[in-house]
């Protein structure tokens, strides 16, 4: 568990801002204690100071995870947001998209969302901004990147991709081993 370098902190926050915008600062300034980001084996964990102190008593070799894993830095030093971050991203995300029940399974298997599966979308979603994907019953099931603005979506071809798949909860089953 080490503190993130300046560089990596910047990359991380850039990425987060893509999904939750200015709400990033809500992650840092919390009323219920101080939370921080820590890095372990390129994985970034979001953890409360209190928990961090306790976790540091465990030898690094034996520590598997602490707090919530947000994602990992790739070898090329880019940050990949993991589905495990959904707990924190979903409540803060400004742009959301709802998929029809028929398209749920498609998305949960790792496919992009096409126009025909689109149930609802937040007004004014800009292009290439991170969006959280919900089912029609308001259950967050993943996130992605909008490939079109809301306006463009209206006129899009039914088979056109609306959201590029980034992460979905199906990964808990598909790739449990690589989550952290």
């Amino acid at each position: 568990m080490k503190v993130l370098s300046e560089e990596r902190t910047r990359i991380l926050f850039e990425k987060l801002t893509k999904y939750i915008g200015v709400n990033v600062k809500l992650l840092i300034d919390r009323p219920d204690g101080t939370y921080c980001f820590r890095e372990k084996k390129d994985r970034v964990y979001y953890i409360s100071e209190r928990l961090l102190h306790l976790a540091q008593t465990v030898k690094p070799d034996n520590l598997i995870a602490a707090g919530t894993c947000f994602g990992k830095f790739t070898k090329t030093n880019k940050f990949r947001l993991h589905i495990t971050a959904l707990t924190y991203i979903a409540p803060y995300a400004p742009y959301k998209i709802w998929v029809k029940p028929s398209a749920e399974q498609q998305f949960l298997y790792g496919h992009h969302i096409i126009k025909s599966g689109l149930g609802r979308i937040t007004e004014n979603t800009p292009k290439h901004h991170g969006v959280v994907v919900y089912t029609m019953s308001d259950i967050p099931i993943g996130f992605g990147v909008a490939s079109r603005t809301t306006a463009e979506c209206r006129h899009a071809d039914p088979l056109a991709t609306i959201v590029f798949h980034q992460a979905d909860v199906g990964e808990y089953i598909r790739s449990e081993d690589t989550l952290t």
Partner: protein
């Protein structure tokens, strides 16, 4: 189902095209067939006979009338004499005919009757005198009955002729008499049948009686009355049949014959084995009454053991162990329940949703579910599902987790509070740990530990999916966890076990587990439990609780382990807070556990419809680790090592040899590993100490009682006692030791209590440790050569456990020789 035949003619099939124009008409049956169905079935033999008689009488009556008419015309006196002889003959001839049923046969008598009619009138007077006697006879003798009948009929016919002139009156009399006779016959038959003792006959005859009544009263009765009588008859017959059947069954039960050697050798079909199991279980249920002469209970139980092994495919060892846990009847239930899987249960993740919402969402997906019971607010039982329950969007979004109902129990017993620090020592795959987190509402700290690194990944996945954020997941050997961190408010230890409670999930348990596996398990469990207790903080304001649970039902892995911990740490058992489940064992075979083990809970598949489970809740009342009493340590080992002594050929065997023998090594290893328990106890590995198991256990009891009480006091004195012990060992100063023993700490008291254990060995020498010590030299000296070899070996084996003493003896031995 096919077409529905309407046997009832009254209901007419509608004609003409219905909704389906080409409707197939109801099948038409021949009248005879229909009648067969509706009317009474075949006549019984007796009924046939009676019917035949009735017909015969009618015919006779008709003939008589004819004959009378003729007689009026022709008065023939010449034939009198000749006919007299004929009459005798004819009556003789008729006797066999009374029995026959064929029409031709009973047609003949008519003709003879005619002859008789002609002959009889004159002979009547002589025969009528015999009538009374005859009737008496008919009452007694069944066979004669028919004969008598015929005679009496003849007589009556004779009477008619006497009253020949008063034709009409005579006939009337006849008719009455006939009917009387008939009834009389019937009753006589009844008597005969009753004497035969067969119910069937009785019913038939009575039925027949009614039949005849019916025939007589046919005209008077309303159809409804007839129907009523018929119905009653039927009911009576049914009841009798049922009774007979029952009696047959009872008779069957009574005669369970112990199978012969050959039968046992030859593999029977599974059904036979199953039947035999049932039989043996009933026999064992009421052994005194049902047993076969000269068979002991042992034989029956052995047979049952073998059959159960065959039928349920267990290995004999495990079945033996199970037989010791359950009474036979319950055992069969348990085995049966272990064959079928428990219902799938899910636990609502209260961090993300509520049970009602989840249930609604799942019902919308085509899942059929129900709350698991009143005892849980988060459990749901899934009866059937059209979608894979482990891959619905709700599941993936972390609204629930698949978890056996029994897995809720330890967490409920633990009763975590918010803002506590809690440890789950064997957490993978994180079901119980996430339950704890959910109850804590993501506050406080949860340490989820598992020794298997691969399995920790499952914890990570589940925690993130379920939204648990207050957890630290680590990968330590649970036994070393006290080195990592202590001071937890609560500790949950769901120890690895043999899994005898979840045979339905993993049937390989049936065949793969043997004594060694169990030993391995409970050694690890003991160490883990001690470690868990060490991790817990007694000073916690809200907690200080440890919950120990296994999915095994073997007392070795449950009560015994807890009992072990009770003696070695300052903990006491507290109620688990679970209002169902059966109490833990206080006695098991030769073991006598601490009475408070009643507070622990056992759960069985056959009684609670959940996996077999064991939950014990301990409260730590002092952080001090009492100095392990060597003797106590050894005592259990002693129990185990007894057999090694027997193997050496010194001591007479105890029944449970094989079991305890091999326990020793792993245990001693375990001890070496344990941090706090570093006291020598070691010698046993190298030089086994031997004592009989049972006496030890008995001696154990008082200790157990004292330990918990003493421990508190003992805390302060730990150090001194230790010194004393050392003194004892090193100085060999027996008297000092004795004095200190009696004078000082309870620990040493326990030592003195212990000492008798040593003596229980068969050797004539030992009467007490102290005495033993004192006498040792004398005895050794006194030993003659012949006595020496066995005795000395016994001595070494019995020698008090401390190394120092042993060494002493070893020194002594060569000296003796």
């Amino acid at each position: 189902m096919g077409r529905k035949a309407k046997f009832d003619e009254t209901k007419k099939v509608k004609k003409g095209p219905g909704r389906k124009a080409r409707k197939q008409p109801d099948p038409v049956f021949k009248k005879e067939l229909l009648e067969d169905d509706t009317t009474e079935k075949k006549l019984t033999h007796r009924q046939k006979q009676r019917a035949a008689k009735r017909a015969k009488k009618k015919a006779e009556l008709a003939e008589k009338r004819k004959a009378l008419k003729q007689a009026k015309k022709n008065v023939a006196k010449q034939k009198e004499v000749t006919v007299e002889d004929e009459g005798d003959n004819s009556s003789d001839e008729e006797t066999p005919q009374g029995f026959t049923d064929d029409n031709k046969e009973w047609l003949k008598p008519k003709q003879k009757g005619k002859q008789k009619e002609k002959s009889k009138p004159k002979t009547y007077k002589s025969e009528s005198e015999d009538e009374d006697d005859d009737e008496d006879d008919s009452g007694n003798e069944d066979n004669d009955g028919s004969e008598m009948e015929v005679d009496s009929e003849d007589d009556t016919s004779g009477k008619k002729k006497v009253g020949g002139e008063k034709y009409k009156v005579g006939t009337l009399d006849d008719l009455f008499k006939d009917s009387d006779n008939e009834n009389g016959d019937a009753s006589s038959e009844d008597e005969g049948a009753e004497s035969g003792g067969k119910l069937e006959y009785d019913s038939d005859s009575s039925a027949a009686e009614k039949d005849s009544d019916d025939d007589d009263d046919d005209d008077d009765m309303l159809p409804i009355e007839k129907a009523n009588i018929k119905l009653k008859k039927k009911q009576k017959i049914d009841k009798q049949l049922a009774d007979e059947e029952m009696q047959l069954n009872i008779a069957k039960q009574d005669v369970f014959a112990f199978p012969s050697e050959e039968e046992l050798q030859n593999p029977a079909s599974l059904q036979d084995v199953h039947q035999r199991i049932k039989d043996v279980v009933t026999v064992l249920g009421d052994f005194n009454r049902l047993k076969e002469e000269g068979r002991s209970r042992c034989e029956y139980t052995d047979l049952l053991l073998k059959d159960l092994c065959t039928y349920y495919s267990y290995n004999e060892f495990l079945m033996e162990v199970l037989m010791q846990i359950f009474p036979v009847q319950e055992l069969v239930e348990f085995l049966e329940a272990s064959e079928t899987a428990r219902p799938v249960t899910i636990r609502t993740n209260s961090l993300k949703t509520r049970r009602r919402d989840l249930a609604q969402a799942l019902i919308n997906r085509g899942v059929n579910l129900d709350p698991v019971g009143k005892w849980s607010k988060v459990g749901l039982v899934v009866y059937s599902s059209t979608v894979p329950i482990g891959a619905t969007p709700e599941y993936l979004a972390g609204h629930y987790i698949l978890q056996g109902a029994s897995s809720f129990l330890p967490v409920m017993a633990l009763a975590p509070q918010e803002n506590e620090r809690i440890l789950d020592m064997c957490a993978a795959p994180g079901g119980k740990a996430s339950h704890i987190a959910a109850i804590m509402k993501n506050t406080g700290t949860l340490f989820a530990n598992d020794a298997n690194k691969e399995r920790t990944k499952a914890i990570v996945g589940n925690f993130h999916r379920l939204g648990v954020v207050n957890a630290v997941i680590c990968n330590h050997d649970g036994r070393e966890f006290p080195d990592v961190m202590k001071g937890f408010d609560r500790v949950l230890l769901d120890a690895p076990c043999t899994g005898t409670g979840v045979i339905a999930k993993d049937p390989s348990v049936k065949t793969t587990k043997d004594q060694k596996d169990i030993q391995r398990c409970f050694n690890i469990q003991r160490q883990l439990l001690l470690a868990a207790i060490d991790c817990c903080s007694a000073k916690s304001s809200s907690g200080g609780y440890i919950v120990y649970s296994t999915c095994s039902i073997l007392p070795e892995e449950n009560e015994w382990v807890v009992n072990y911990a009770l003696k070695r740490r300052n903990v006491k058992l507290v109620p688990t807070g679970l209002d169902f489940g059966t109490e833990g064992f206080v006695k098991y075979r030769h073991h006598r556990f601490h009475p408070s083990l009643k507070l622990t809970r056992r759960f069985y598949p056959h009684t609670h419809n959940m996996d077999g489970f064991y939950v014990a809740k301990l409260k730590k009342f002092s952080n001090v680790i009492p100095e392990p009493f060597k003797d106590e340590d050894d005592e259990e080992i002693d129990g185990k090592t007894t057999e090694q002594a027997t193997e050496n050929g010194d001591v007479d065997g105890d029944s449970d040899e094989g079991k305890t023998k091999s326990e020793e090594k792993p245990k001693s290893e375990g001890k070496k590993k344990q941090g706090p328990v570093k006291r020598p106890a070691p010698a046993d590995g190298a030089q086994p100490q031997h004592k009989k198991a049972k006496p030890n256990v008995q001696a154990k009891r008082p200790q157990v009682a004292t330990t918990t009480n003493n421990k508190a006091q003992a805390d302060n004195k730990v150090q001194p006692t230790d010194k004393i012990n050392k003194k004892k060992n090193k100085n060999k100063n027996k008297q000092n030791a004795v004095q200190t023993d009696s004078a000082k700490s309870p620990n040493t008291n326990i030592n003195t209590v212990k000492s008798p254990n040593v003596n229980t060995t068969p050797s004539p020498n030992a009467q007490g440790k102290k005495k033993n010590k004192k006498n040792k030299n004398k005895q050794n000296a006194a030993q003659t050569d012949k006595a020496k070899s066995p005795n000395t070996s016994i001595n070494t084996s019995q020698s008090p456990n401390a190394q120092g003493k042993k060494k002493k003896k070893n020194k002594n031995k060569p000296a003796n020789k």
